[in-house]
C-alpha cells in the first residue's frame, strides 16, 4: 500500500510543472519512503531519510527556488530517447532481479555469510546493542570516515561556490529580517528550540541502544539553529553562530574522527583500531565509537548550517530575467 503511494507521488512529481509543488511532493515522497523503511525494519535509515530527505533537502530546495524562480518551462521536444533509456535500465535490472532470492527469505546468501557474525558477536565485542551503530562506527568505521569526509567536501564546496552569508548585511538596529514581528511564532520558537537541541543530544547518546547516532543528531542540531534563523533572521543567527565558527566546526568533526584513527596507530593498533584505546578492549570500542560519533555529529551540524547560511545569505538578483 505504502509502495503504491510511493509510486503515485513519484509520478506526480513527473507530471507537476510548478517546481514548488515538485518540492512539496518530494518531501511527501521522502516521508512515505521513511515509513516504508521502518516497515522493512531499517529504523536508523528511516530516521535519516526523514530528517534528510524530508527535512534538510526540502529546506534547501525551497531556498533554491526562492533564488531561482519556481516555474518550469514546457519541454520543447517529445522525450522518446529518455524514455527508452529509462526503460532499458529498468529492464536490465528486472532481468537481473528475476533470479534473486525471494523477498524476506532468511536462507538468502546475504543472511548467511557476513551479517550473522555481526548479529552474534557485536554486543559482546563492542558492548553496543544497536548492531547498526556497531557496524557503522566500528566494523565499517572506515566507510563512515569516508562518509563524513563526503559531507565535509560538500560543505567546503558550497562555501567555495556561494560564500557563507558574508554578504548578509546587518540591517538597521540589528534587525536581520526573519519573522520577528510575529509574536506567536517568536514565543513558540523560544519554547521549542531548547527542546530540539535536547532531542538532538538524546539522539546522539541514545544511538547505542536505539535508532539514532551522530548523523541524525547533527541534522537535528542544525535544524534547531535553522529554525532560529528563519524566525529571528540571518544576521541574528550569525551573531549567535558566526560563519567562522561554522567553518571550524565543519573541519573539526572530520579532524576528530581521523584523530581517533591516528591514536589507534600510536597505541600500536591498526588505523581506526578501537581495541587499543583502553586496557579493556570492549571499553576501548565504546570509547572509540563515542568519539567517532561526536566527530560525525559536529561535522554534519556544521555542514548543514554552512549550507543553509550559504543559501540564505544569497540575495535574489533583481536583474534576473524571468
Amino acid at each position: 500500500m505504502l509502495l503504491v503511494l510511493l509510486l503515485a507521488s513519484a509520478l506526480a512529481i513527473v507530471r507537476a510543472r510548478n517546481l514548488f509543488a515538485v518540492v512539496v511532493l518530494s518531501g511527501i515522497y521522502s516521508f512515505i519512503m521513511a515509513t516504508q523503511l521502518t516497515v522493512l525494519d531499517a529504523v536508523d535509515v528511516a530516521m535519516t531519510e526523514a530528517s534528510v530527505g524530508a527535512g534538510i533537502s526540502t529546506v534547501l530546495l525551497l531556498g533554491t527556488l526562492y533564488l531561482t524562480g519556481s516555474e518550469e518551462a514546457a519541454p520543447g521536444h517529445r522525450p522518446v530517447l529518455p524514455l527508452l533509456v529509462a526503460i532499458a535500465t529498468a529492464g536490465m535490472l528486472i532481468y537481473g532481479t528475476l533470479g534473486i532470492p525471494v523477498f524476506g527469505d532468511p536462507s538468502g546468501p546475504i543472511h548467511q555469510h557476513v551479517a550473522p557474525r555481526y548479529l552474534q558477536e557485536a554486543v559482546e565485542a563492542t558492548g553496543i546493542p544497536n548492531v547498526v551503530t556497531a557496524v557503522l562506527a566500528s566494523y565499517r568505521g572506515y566507510d563512515t570516515l569516508g562518509e563524513t569526509t563526503v559531507i565535509f567536501t560538500a560543505g567546503i564546496g558550497v562555501i567555495l561556490l556561494l560564500g557563507m552569508g558574508r554578504r548578509a548585511r546587518y540591517g538597521a538596529q540589528g534587525q536581520g529580517g526573519g519573522m520577528q514581528e510575529y509574536l506567536v511564532l517568536r514565543v513558540i520558537a523560544k519554547l521549542l528550540i531548547p527542546f530540539a537541541l535536547l532531542f538532538a543530544l538524546y539522539v546522539q547518546f541514545h544511538g547505542d541502544f536505539g535508532p539514532g547516532g551522530g548523523f541524525q543528531a547533527g541534522v537535528i542540531l542544525a535544524a534547531g539553529v535553522i529554525f532560529y534563523t528563519i524566525i529571528f533572521g540571518l544576521a541574528n543567527a550569525q551573531r549567535l553562530v558566526p560563519p567562522r565558527l561554522v567553518e571550524i566546526l565543519v573541519a573539526l568533526g572530520v579532524a576528530i574522527y581521523a584523530l581517533v584513527g591516528d591514536i589507534g596507530l600510536l597505541l600500536g593498533g591498526n588505523y581506526l583500531d578501537y581495541f587499543v584505546l583502553d586496557r579493556d578492549p570492549v571499553h576501548g570500542q565504546h570509547r572509540g565509537v563515542f568519539w567517532v560519533e561526536a566527530g560525525v555529529c559536529i561535522t554534519v551540524a556544521g555542514v548543514m548550517l554552512a549550507i543553509f547560511f550559504a543559501f540564505a545569505g544569497r540575495r535574489r538578483r533583481p536583474d534576473a530575467k524571468s
Binding site: M92, L93, Y95, G96, T97, L98, G99, I100, P101, G108, P109, I110, H111, Q112, H113, V114, A115, R117, Y118, S138, Y139, R140, G141, Y142, D143, L145, G146, E147, T149, V150, F152, T153, A154, I156, G157, I159, L160, L161, E247, I248, V250, A251, L252, V254, A255, A258, L259, G261, D262, G264, L265, G269, N270, Y271, L272, D273, Y274, F275
Partner: protein, 493 residues
Amino acid sequence: MIAQHFPALQVVVPLMAAPLCVLLRNARLAWAMALAVSWAMVFVAGSLLARVLQEGVISYALGSWEPPWGIEYRIDPLNAFVLVLVSLVGALVISYSRESVDHEVRREQHYLFYAAYLLCLAGLLGIAITGDAFNVFVFLEISSLSTYVLIALGRDRRALTASYQYLIMGTIGATFIVIGVGLLYLMTGTLNMHDLSQRLPAVEHTRPVLAALAFLTVGISLKLALFPLHLWLPNAYAFAPSMVTAFLAATATKVAVYLLLRFFFTVFGAPLVLGEMPLPEILLALSLAAMFAMSIVATFQDDVKRMLAYSSVAQIGYITLGVSTGTAAGLTGTVVHLFNHGITKGALFLLLGCMAMGMKRVTLQHMRGIGRIMPVTTFGVVIGGLGLIGVPLTAGFVSKWYLVLGALERGWWWVAVLILASSLLAVVYVWRIVEAAYFKPPGEQVARLREAPLSMLVPAWAMIAATVYFGVDTRFTAGVAARVAELLLGGFR
C-alpha cells in the same frame, strides 16, 4: 614499524590535511601543506610498490577487524602502480600550482581550494587502494564531489554548467555502481572484493550477477568517459582551472580505468568477462569509435584545451582497446598507456596553463606565433604532442607498440592497421598547434606575453622529460605492466 601502516597513511594523510587547511585558513600554509603531503605520498606509494613487487600482496585490516567483516586494504602490483601514478602527478601538479592558482582563483578561496584538491587526491588514492567494493563508492564520491567543486571554480561561466553536467552524469554513474555492488552482495553476502572473487564462481551464471556486471560496466564507463558516455568530459576539462584540468586528465579517468580492470579481472575473472560475454566485442567497437570519432572532432576544435580534451577521450579508446583484446600484450599496453598517457596529457595541460597565464582562453588564433615569445613552453607542447601521436622515443610509442602486438596476437591485423591510422589523425591536430605556434606571425595579444616563471616550467618540463624517458627506458613501466597483465589474466588464453 611505521612502514607497516603505509597502506592506511597513503589515504589518511591527505584526508587529514584537508580539514587542517580549513582550520589554518591561510593560503600559503595550505599550499605548503598540500605540497609536503603530496610529496610524502609519492614516497609512500613508491615504497608500497617496491614492497609489493618483492613480497607480494599486502593486506591491511582497518580497525583490526579481519576481512570480510571489516574493510580491507589490499595492494597488488596493479594498484600500487596506479598509486604511484596518481601521487606522482599530484605532487608535480601541486608544485606547479602556486602561480597558476594565484592567477585563476580568488585569493580568499585558496585555502578551501587546496583543501578540495587534497580531498580529491585522497579520494582517488582511496579508490585505488581499497579491497572493499562499497568502500570504492564512498571514496569515489569524495573524489567526485571535490572534482565538481574544482571544475566549477574555473573563470568562465561555462565552468558552472560543465560542473553541473558532470555532477548529474557522475552521480548516475556512481549510483549504477552501487546497484551493481548491491546485486553482487545479494548473491554472495559479501562486499570484500577478494571474498567476492572466491564466492562468485558458484553463482556465476545467474542473472543477477550478469546484470551486476552490466551495471558496473556502464557505471564505471560513465566515470572513465568511454565513448559515447564522454559528454561531460570536454567542457569539464576546457573550463576548469589549468592545474585542475592537468590533475584530472592525468588521474581521474585513469583511476576509473583501474576500477574497470579490478572488477573485470579480479572480481568477475577473465573467463567470464572475456570468454563468455559479448563484452570484448562491444568494448572493441566503442574503443575504435572513440579513437576515430573523437580524434576527428579534436581536429576541428579551435580551443586548444578542448582539442586536447577530445584527444583524451580518443586516447581512452586506446586504453579500453587493450582490454578488449584480452591478451597479455594488449593488457600490458592498457596498463602502460594508463601511465604514459597520464603523464603526457598532464604535462600538456600544465604547459597550456602556462600559456593561459597571459590570455583568457587558449585558442589557436590567440596562440599565433607564441613559439617565439614562449619558446620553452611551446617546445614542451611539441614534444608532448609527439607523445600523443606515438612517435618513437616518446612514451606514447611504447604503449601503442604493445597494443599493436596485442591486436596481432589475436589475429586482428585490421585493428593494428586502424591503430596506426588513428595515430595519423593525431598528427593532424598536433600539427595545427605547431602551425599556429611557429608559422604564424605573432598577434598583438601574444606580443605582450612573457615566458612562464620557473616554478611552473620546472614541474611541467619534469613531466615532459618523463614522457621521453619512459619512451626510451621501458623497464619500469612495461616491466610492471607485464607482471600486472599476467596477474590479471591468471592463465586465461
